[in-house]
Symmetry: C2
Subunit: 214 residues, 2 copies
């Protein structure tokens, strides 16, 4: 099976926002509450950061357990990596994820301000000032035949959608409103000219949106 | 995460039958039509035996792509392995799956009539005359820390359910009637005293039933 470009478990509000306004060190999602946005995922057995052995094994868990399945690299935007803007003052910041980031693959961070690569656990962060096409070529090579995840945030997903580089995309729409911030879409129907779309409501309250290329 | 015992993509008719009457070499599912029963799975991108590069990437595909995910061994009954009954006349029969069976792990076949192990592709078939508990101990050891799939048929799934050895079970209920044969249940509600149950209708017409231990 050919290498694919996939978006997974990308979560937006009912009004289409993936993040609120005012990202900071204390508030990675700005004024939005990530606990509410990601409640569906946090309840599953396979959510990477859950701290107890329980959790659900239903529909939502099929999504979270697929996160690492046949993924060989991730591409993320700088605002997913951290709240800093412009040139780096230093290289102390190593992301939000502690000593064992949940990626377990090479991760390519798109930024106009590159810095040296580093490794945490079995995740390697590399910084690229590149077009989506060039970043993807690098990621495909690093993925060793597996798929590449576009990890977000909104601007990065939009950039890859606009370049028509996304093959399959899973977006979970949470039953919360954010009102302002980083908006993925006004409606998922904006994408149905290019993608098949299945909408599957979950008992948790989210509606899973599964897109794949026509 | 502890090793689990999982049933995956097990497909039954609306009236609860996993197979019809009269299994034979030409009719592995007896009088039932496997094409109708498994139409939901055959349409997905990750159905192991599909022959063209297309296929869907929606809800049904999340189920078929999970088939090999973190599975280290399978246990199946003799009637899934073949249509023969009683002592083996010879050992020519090597299953329905050709030179590349879709399991890619050790497979333990439960039978009162053991025969020598053999290997096809990266699947090894071993024959055990053992209780569910003892077979599971062997399979856990062979699985190298991964989960064990109970592959069916109906009698084998029932045997492991009756011994309370199943941790999570996915059953797809197809919109067909079979009427007689091997019946998994009269109703999925028979199991809700021991399992959580999510029923998720798919656009393909099947209703996915996700069970996990309470």
């Amino acid at each position: 099976m050919a290498q694919m470009v996939r978006v997974q478990n990308f979560t937006v509000s009912g009004d289409g926002y993936g993040s609120g306004e005012g990202q900071s060190l204390d508030r990675p999602f700005g004024h939005a509450d990530p606990g509410a946005l990601f409640a569906w995922a946090g309840a599953t057995a396979h959510w990477p950061t859950r701290t107890d052995p329980g959790g659900t094994y239903g529909l939502d868990d099929y999504c979270t357990r697929d996160f690492t399945n046949n993924i060989g690299a991730e591409i993320m935007g700088r605002n997913k990596f951290g709240p800093q803007r412009g040139p780096w003052e230093n290289h102390d910041w190593q992301g939000w994820w502690g000593d064992e980031p949940p990626f377990h693959t090479p991760v390519f961070v798109l930024t106009h301000h590159v810095r040296p690569s580093f490794t945490l656990g079995d995740t390697t962060f590399q910084f690229l000032d590149a077009s989506p096409e060039d970043a993807l070529a690098r990621a495909f090579e690093a993925a060793g035949g597996k798929d590449v995840r576009i990890g977000g945030g909104v601007a990065t997903v939009r950039e890859f959608l606009d370049a028509d580089l996304v093959d399959a995309m899973h977006v979970a729409v949470s039953p919360v409103e954010i009102g302002r911030g980083e908006r993925l879409w006004t409606s998922p129907d904006d994408l149905v000219d290019r993608f098949h779309l299945e909408r599957i409501p979950s008992p948790s309250g989210v509606v899973h949106h599964f897109f794949w290329r026509r």
